[in-house]
């Protein structure tokens, strides 16, 4: 019997003998709710405090990103796609650009690939920090919220110095990345690397052996490996169930096969296992960032040379954000007419991508983020479909909360770490 049937057949007339009736209660959680991690709506059928059935209703953040990309050039698609899963913008950009580069048949220069890995891994740490902060807040550990955002501010400062924006940077472009690291950027990242492991130890000291945290998370929301695979779950939720599936290891991109890192797994498949997996992933990301910094010692180009593909401008981060560098503006306005015309053509018309279709997966902090991109040979995408990990992961929620308490629903949702921007796009 579906939830709709249950509501339709409930007998709501008052009892004539005055006896007490037992019936289940259907309540609504969200879409405006402090603990649902965004605009997620859950219909819960409750028997007292026990959850009998749950139906997630999504779509409250649907933005029409996929339709919008069909009306813009390929380069402009980066700015749209980066706002889908807004907590991991670099992953969206990297996935999209890898797909377009696969269609074009080009590869970004090695230094650009290292920069992509560097920023992706720092983004992974930032995203897991938001997860930790909001999870802690939702389960009652309010100070974790402040600690998580404190570290995240450090990462966002580095992002701002390198890309000009704290979030939704359009930094990764087709053919590479748009700018190199600023002066002393590597030093700042190095300082961050020395500070961060101690902070992760701090979180573990606060939470891992904490009896309240353990009681709220151990055994809550179990999801076995077979169920997870059948429901299309990927990412830390799947790795917490014991399956060592990681796109960076199985189908490497951007040179991940040359880096040394472990795929963190646990066996129990409950919320606590997912917590441990994400903490472990933060440490692995720090290892990867360190290896990236080693490789960035040699200079090199960060964008392909092909003038039909590369972004024409030289950008730099000024006092009010990212923009064309003064030297470049001088060049196109005063020195070279061809450069001005080329700049104009590339910005308005953009790249022409040969026709075809590709599917490129990347490992975002939430799971497998896939880009299915179709081109018809023009300068606009024909179809950009984002296979978002949270969209598939949320399908597992009814399974995980059945038989648990209402308070466990919160713990389960926060352990999946959905980002509704990606779910609804």
């Amino acid at each position: 019997m579906t939830l709709d049937d249950a509501i339709g057949t409930a007998d709501l007339s008052p009892s004539s003998t005055g006896e007490i009736r037992q019936e289940t209660m259907v309540i609504n959680m969200g879409p405006q709710h402090p603990s649902t991690h965004g605009v997620l709506r859950l219909l819960l059928e409750l028997d007292g405090e026990t959850v009998l059935a749950c139906e997630p209703i999504v779509g409250y953040l649907h933005t029409g990103i996929e339709k919008n990309t069909e009306y813009r050039t390929w380069q402009q698609g980066v700015t749209f796609v980066t706002r889908a899963d807004y907590l991991s913008p670099f992953f969206n950009e990297v996935g999209y650009c890898l797909a377009v580069e696969k269609l074009l048949g080009i590869e970004a220069p090695p230094r650009a690939q290292v920069l992509r890995v560097l920023f992706c891994e720092m983004n992974r740490i930032a995203s897991h920090l938001v997860w930790l902060a909001t999870s802690g807040l939702e389960l009652g550990a309010v100070s974790v919220m402040l600690y998580g955002f404190r570290e995240r501010e450090q990462i966002l400062d580095i992002f701002e110095a390198a890309t000009g924006l704290r979030m939704n940077h359009a930094y990764v472009r087709i053919g590479g990345v748009v700018m190199d690291l600023p002066d002393r950027g590597a030093d700042r990242i190095g300082d961050f690397l020395t500070m961060m492991p101690g902070r992760i130890d701090e979180y573990e000291r606060l939470l891992t052996k904490n009896p309240i945290w353990m009681q709220r998370n151990i055994g809550v929301g179990p999801l076995g490996a077979a169920d997870a695979r059948a429901l299309g779950v990927t990412g830390p939720v799947l790795r917490a169930a014991g399956v060592p599936a990681d796109v960076r290891r199985d189908e490497p991109y951007c040179g991940y096969e040359t880096y040394e890192f472990d795929v963190v797994t646990r066996d129990s498949g409950d919320c606590f296992a997912r917590y441990e997996v994400r903490i472990g992933e933060m440490r692995q990301s720090l290892k990867l960032v360190e290896q990236c910094l080693e490789r960035l010692r040699e200079p090199g180009p960060v964008m392909v040379e092909d003038p039909k593909v590369r972004w024409p401008a030289q950008l730099e981060v000024g006092p009010d954000g990212i923009g064309n560098s003064a030297r470049y503006i001088e060049h196109i306005m005063e020195e070279s007419m061809e450069a001005l015309i080329h700049h104009f053509k590339m910005v308005t018309e953009g790249v022409s991508v040969p026709s075809g279709e590709v599917y490129v997966p990347v490992e975002s902090p939430r799971g497998e983020l896939g880009f299915y991109v179709v081109s018809d040979g023009g300068n606009r995408p024909y179809r950009v479909r984002m296979r978002d990990p949270s969209f598939a992961n949320l399908q597992a929620v009814p399974q995980m909360v059945r038989g648990g308490l209402v308070a466990d629903v919160i713990a389960v949702i926060s352990s999946i770490d959905p980002v509704l921007g990606g779910v609804d796009r």
Partner: protein
């Protein structure tokens, strides 16, 4: 298994296989879809047991107009296969694969929501991302982007799909 071996293996049962840019795509007919997916899932060498995404593309002016695209992954062998089904304009329905892959539930609802593709046998085929009662299938090429005009201090800018290039 590398992509050429994969293509050879698939060609034994389904001859319409294209390999491009390191990816294999097989075209199946609507009636043979469930059988094909079951074969791909249960064959020991293919073992394509993870459905990553279900979506559709719209090619107005071509026949078949719609193509429903399934992305399959093998957890064991780490290879991928794309399965495409063509649907004509006047008969936009295809069997639902939720019996084989429970994860297809929401993906098929989204494809229905965006393109109007009816999945027969789906347990709960309703709109998922757009409000209930929305009319139209927004991602079809014949539908407009739907923006509003911008008027500001005497300037007028139409929405992006009605601007001249």
């Amino acid at each position: 298994m590398n992509v050429d071996h994969l293509a050879e293996r698939v060609r034994r049962s389904h001859p319409d296989v294209v390999v491009a840019r390191g990816e294999a795509t097989v075209l199946v007919g609507r009636d043979g879809l469930l059988e094909a997916l079951r074969t791909f899932r249960d064959d020991e060498e293919l073992r394509l047991d993870f459905l990553a995404s279900v979506t559709a593309t719209d090619w107005p002016g071509r026949d078949p107009r719609f193509r429903v695209v399934y992305e399959l992954l093998s957890a064991e062998h780490h290879h991928r296969l794309r399965v495409k089904v063509g649907l004509p304009e006047d008969d936009v329905r295809v069997p639902s694969v939720t019996g084989l892959f429970p994860t297809a539930n929401w993906h098929e609802r989204e494809t229905y929501d965006f393109f109007g593709v009816a999945f027969e046998g789906h347990p709960n085929l309703r709109r998922i991302l757009l409000p209930e009662g929305w009319e139209g299938w927004p991602l079809r090429k014949t539908e407009e982007l739907g923006g509003v005009d911008t008027r500001y201090h005497g300037a007028f800018i139409p929405p992006v799909d009605r601007r001249t290039r």
